[in-house]
């Protein structure tokens, strides 16, 4: 019912037209063509061929511990996360987290014991849920604050006074989200497109279905595609001088019968030198903007770096890895798998890594 006002707010120039709309039979504006001027669909991947950024800043080592609660950080760094993308949450309030905790724990209890009703307020469920805001993660004002969800429970055969321990954790985040996309969402929507979960699959799906029912959102698998894996490999290698990689390990699958898996481990120093040689070429090009260039990494450099690694492998084993699929990249700084599992081992690079993944998640948005 509020649509006319909304339109006024967003497109002040045609207020006269808006009046007409309320008078006449009002064509439903949101079924409108997805090419409409005010529509967010200008961002739709299919229409704009939205792609991953072809150039990004190098991983910044940040002393994040000053900004972010170390306890939260410890949780984020500890586990390997299964990633999903999430469509914008409707009517999500960062101020209601306490109430959400109660609702989710009641929901889990009700689902766990089918056919038994559970009181939402003050329930003595065997699962305790805690929602909390991870302050200090957001990079820009448009980013919604990260939300951490933990589920605690007592083990089945625990002693009476044994404390509950965390059995599942997950988070929703948005780091450096595309500002155009975020601005296009009307009031009432919160965009936290990246969801990571770690713990029992059953709990993951319960949490997801509670979110779906409560905030009218959808969860889908988020794979880390070839390009992103290559990006991560390059970005991590780029940090070698600051914190040692220990190793650069890549796993490839080659589509032959029987399937062949190649584990390719590179000495960190060699990888660094290869990377620098790729970088140096680029740096020579423009000496004036050297400072700027040193920070930005281009997709071409990443491709050349990977090409270097592949041709090295080819010289030794006569096997062209381009024919295969990169499945996994791991270093001491973290590991990422094609299936959408990621582990970020160093808190110093967590923000930039999550920014890359946020970008991937936003690419998956249906509209």
């Amino acid at each position: 019912m509020e649509s006319p006002q909304n339109s006024v707010a967003r497109t002040p120039s045609n207020s006269a037209i808006v009046q007409r709309r309320s008078k006449s039979k009002s064509y439903r504006q949101s079924y409108r063509s997805c090419l409409g001027a005010a529509s967010r669909l200008g961002l739709t991947p299919g229409l704009t061929a939205r792609r991953l950024n072809s150039s990004r800043r190098a991983l910044k080592s940040q002393v994040i511990t000053e900004k972010v609660n170390p306890e939260h950080l410890a949780i984020l760094v500890k586990a390997e996360w299964q990633l999903s993308y999430v469509t914008p949450l409707y009517q999500f309030r960062h101020t209601q987290l306490k109430s959400y905790s109660r609702q989710l724990s009641a929901f889990i209890a009700a689902e766990k014991q089918q056919g038994l009703a559970v009181e939402v307020e003050g329930s003595q469920s065997s699962f305790r849920v805690s929602f909390s805001v991870v302050q200090g993660m957001a990079e820009t004002d448009d980013d919604a604050e990260t939300v951490l969800i933990q589920i605690f429970s007592k083990p089945m055969f625990a002693k009476q006074d044994e404390p509950q321990r965390s059995v599942w954790s997950g988070w929703l985040t948005c780091i450096n989200g595309n500002p155009d996309y975020l601005h296009s969402l009307p009031k009432g929507f919160t965009c936290l497109p990246l969801f990571g979960s770690s713990g029992a699959e059953v709990l993951t799906s319960l949490v997801k279905s509670w979110f779906q029912q409560t905030f009218d959102c959808c969860f889908g698998c988020l794979e880390i595609n070839q390009t992103s894996l290559q990006w991560l490999a390059a970005l991590w290698t780029n940090c070698h001088t600051e914190s040692s990689l220990k190793h650069l390990k890549m796993i490839w699958t080659i589509p032959v019968v029987p399937p062949l898996q190649v584990t390719y481990t590179v000495d960190p120093q060699d990888a660094w030198e290869l990377w620098m040689s790729v970088r140096m070429d680029q740096l020579d090009k423009s000496e004036e903007e050297e400072e700027e260039q040193a920070r930005n990494i281009d997709i071409e450099e990443v491709t050349r770096f990977m090409q270097g690694l592949k041709s090295h492998f080819y010289r030794h084993f006569r096997l062209d890895l381009s024919a295969g699929n990169l499945q996994q990249v791991s270093t001491a700084l973290g590991s990422a798998k094609f299936s959408g599992k990621i582990k970020i081992s160093s808190s110093r690079y967590i923000i930039t890594t999550l920014a890359l993944l946020t970008e991937c998640a936003l690419l998956k948005m249906p509209i």
Binding site: S3, Y27, S39, G46, A110, G115, A117, Q213
Partner: protein
């Protein structure tokens, strides 16, 4: 035992009874009045009721002939005609007050068959008696069962709702609990759901275990106040409450039938709670339309509409209810659920809230993307049955709303690039035809590029399907235009109704692009498929829409078909195609004439000279080919070298496509020839060309149903000239 005897007794007496009453109704008013007065004084039934009203407390039952006689009388009336509201009040009061002890109670309750309605006061008083008297538990149960049975016949329920708390207190009675829960279920309103009641029920649940009646009541509480209680109903649980009509069933139905009332039907309640999160189906759950649920976190809305009573959509079961509550319906927790119910779809048509539609679009887009674009494991092939149903549901929603959703549009633009042209073809083409007007700057990249690839690499049937789809798309665009052009002046931009920032000229550009695109597809397609008549038929369908854009849809735009379409239709082997082409050319002429006239008047638009030129050229060609037998003349669209024509050794090749020698009409000419000159041995088709037989031949063709040809001839050829080489009189502009 007594009851059964009485029942059979009443059945025996009933036909007699009925005839008496029907006869009495026929008598004059005077007699009736007199009888009524007499009856009032002497009617044993009235006396019996009086007995039960006045009887002293503590009167013995056993050996009491008065009591027995009066009760039998009441039972007789009850089982035959049913009891009046007053009688119900009296008898219920008598039974529940235990004035003659508890023994007659059951007998009275069993005969409480209402003739019309049950007065609410009587029920409320009886409920109060429940708490006062020492009624045996089984009788209490019977009473509640009776209330449940006649619930729909209770005249109003406001007072009953007012004593909700009182009724609720009986929940703790273990034997009564299932029936009280059912009664509460029927009486519950949002305001009756309170924390302490929820706690009480949960307490009972922990005592009694998972009982369906508790769950059903609690699930209703959840509908109203999901913030207080949550539960999930297992799929194997029976849905709804059992009904308890059995003690009264036969009598009630008999009485209601006699009184012409509808049999109370709402005794059992249907549940719509759907069980989900089946681990089996989890893999493809994105195609599942979510269940209707009410919103949990209402704090945002409560401030805004606390004054209004809000009704969750889940609570509405009929269109009438929907209309009644139209202005205070609460949207469900998941907008996608609207797609699953036809009633909700009606409501969706009126939803104006942008966020609500965006939510729906997010869900729909997500489902489509996951199923058809992100499926890594070939999921789409595995469960094409689910996908088929899903798309059909989506299509019927589109048809119902008469437009598509923006998310399905965005999905299609991507999907067309990866589609093989055969997976779920009818559905995908159906969705495609619902795409709203695409700006001409984007239409090529979004639609034409992928469609061209698909068109030229797919089968004939795909080609036909695509042309049909594009025809439907054009029809929808034109209809959309004509609806909104009627509201405004023609030259006003259309963005008052949509946020498509599109002016009339922009719209025209898009339509032109689409028409030209189909023209190109059709030209090449017809060539590839050897002018296949099925494809030609779909192409002509399309041009039947195109030729009438000005008159039918008020769009000042006329686009002629390319020669790649015109000539294959003109030289088609089947007469139907030629006839349809003639009809199309006739409509073009009517449209152009009318546009020309209007153009002079208003000067608001301009049809280019080029269009007139093309039209004239086609008409001249058509006339000289079909009528004047002047095929292959210089200046025509189809030209062949003189030598080549001579080489072919076709005699009088210039006549070979006139209405007599045209391959599509040759058989008619032969047939006509035989009918005209039955005796003639050698056939000379050219003899039809003479003035008289020629006009007979035309008449003959027109009677065969070639109306298009008839209209074409009438509008383009004046025949007062000599017929042997009749002159084509085409308009010149």
């Amino acid at each position: 035992m007594a009851a059964t005897i009485n029942l059979s007794d009443s059945e025996r007496s009933s036909p007699n009874d009925q005839s008496v009453s029907s006869r009495s109704s026929n008598r004059s008013l005077r007699v009736a009045e007199k009888e009524r007065r007499k009856n009032e004084a002497e009617d044993p039934f009235v006396l019996a009721l009086k007995y039960f009203t006045d009887v002293e407390a503590g009167t013995p039952v056993y050996g009491n002939d008065d009591f027995e006689r009066n009760l039998v009388l009441v039972e007789k009336v009850a089982y035959s005609k049913g009891l009046s509201p007053e009688a119900i009040s009296v008898m219920l009061e008598f039974a529940m007050s235990l004035r003659m002890g508890s023994s007659p109670c059951v007998r009275v309750l069993k005969c409480l068959i209402p003739a019309t309605v049950v007065p609410q006061e009587a029920v409320v008083r009886a409920v109060v008696w429940l708490g006062v008297g020492k009624i045996p538990i089984s009788t209490q149960v019977l009473f509640i069962k009776w209330v449940l049975t006649v619930f729909d016949m209770i005249d109003t329920k406001d007072q009953l709702r007012a004593v909700y708390g009182f009724i609720f207190s009986y929940v703790t009675e273990e034997n009564l609990c299932p029936f009280i829960c059912h009664l509460l279920y029927l009486l519950t309103r949002k305001e009756s759901v309170r924390v302490f009641r929820v706690r009480k029920l949960l307490e009972l649940q922990s005592k009694l275990g998972r009982q369906p009646f508790l769950l059903h009541l609690l699930s209703l509480y959840k509908v109203f106040c999901p913030e207080l209680v949550t539960l999930s109903i297992p799929s194997r649980m029976r849905s709804g409450f059992r009904n308890h009509i059995s003690p009264w069933k036969s009598a009630l139905i008999a009485v209601q039938k006699r009184n012409g009332l509808q049999v109370a039907s709402s005794m059992s309640l249907a549940f719509t709670i759907k069980d989900k999160t089946n681990s089996r189906k989890r893999k493809h759950c994105h195609l599942e339309v979510p269940a209707l649920r009410s919103v949990v976190n209402k704090e945002a809305q409560t401030e805004k509409c606390s004054s209004r009573k809000v009704v969750p959509l889940v609570q509405l079961h009929s269109f009438a209810q929907l209309l009644e509550n139209m202005h205070h319906i609460e949207l469900p927790a998941q907008m996608g659920s609207l797609l699953g119910s036809s009633l909700a779809l009606q409501y969706l048509d009126c939803v104006q809230d942008e966020s609500a539609l965006l939510r729906l679009n997010f869900w729909l887009g997500y489902a489509l993307h996951e199923e058809f674009l992100f499926c890594g494991d070939g999921g789409a092939i595995q469960n094409s049955e689910d996908a088929l149903q899903f798309l059909n549901k989506l299509l019927s929603a589109h048809h119902f709303l008469q437009e598509g959703f923006s998310s399905s549009e965005a999905f299609l633009y991507k999907f067309l690039n990866v589609w093989d042209g055969s997976l779920l073809r009818p559905q995908i083409l159906g969705l495609l035809s619902n795409i709203p007007v695409v700006p001409s700057s984007q239409i090529g990249r979004l639609l034409f590029e992928p469609l061209t690839q698909l068109f030229f690499t797919s089968s004939l049937f795909f080609k036909c399907g695509l042309v049909e789809c594009l025809n439907n798309m054009l029809l929808k665009w034109l209809t959309w235009h004509s609806v909104y052009a009627l509201e405004d002046d023609l030259d006003i931009s259309l963005n008052s109704h949509t946020s498509i920032n599109m002016t009339l000229s922009g719209f025209k550009d898009s339509v032109m692009e689409l028409v030209n695109f189909v023209g190109q597809l059709a030209s090449v397609g017809l060539q590839i498929e050897g002018c296949q008549s099925l494809l030609l038929s779909f192409v002509l369908d399309f041009y039947e829409t195109v030729c009438d854009t000005f008159l039918k849809y008020g769009l000042p735009l006329v686009v002629m078909p390319p020669s790649g379409v015109f000539y294959p239709a003109l030289f088609a082997l089947d007469p139907v195609s030629v006839d349809r082409l003639a009809y199309i050319m006739h409509r073009y002429k009517v449209n152009l004439t009318s546009a020309k006239a209007q153009e002079k008047l208003t000067k608001a638009f301009h049809i280019s000279r080029q269009t007139f030129h093309e039209f004239n050229h086609y008409v001249v060609d058509m006339v000289s080919c079909l009528w004047n037998s002047k095929m292959f003349q210089p200046g025509m669209g189809v030209q062949l070298g003189e030598e080549l024509l001579l080489k072919s050794k076709v005699p009088q090749y210039w006549t070979s496509f006139d209405l007599i020698h045209h391959p599509a009409f040759m058989s008619y000419a032969v047939d006509f020839h035989q009918k005209c000159w039955p005796g003639k041995k050698d056939m000379d088709l050219s003899s039809i060309k003479h003035s008289k037989p020629w006009s007979w031949y035309l008449e003959y063709l027109f009677t065969q149903g070639y109306d298009g040809l008839k209209q074409f001839v009438q509008s383009n050829i004046s025949r007062q000239l000599t017929a042997s080489d009749g002159q084509g009189d085409t308009q010149q502009r």
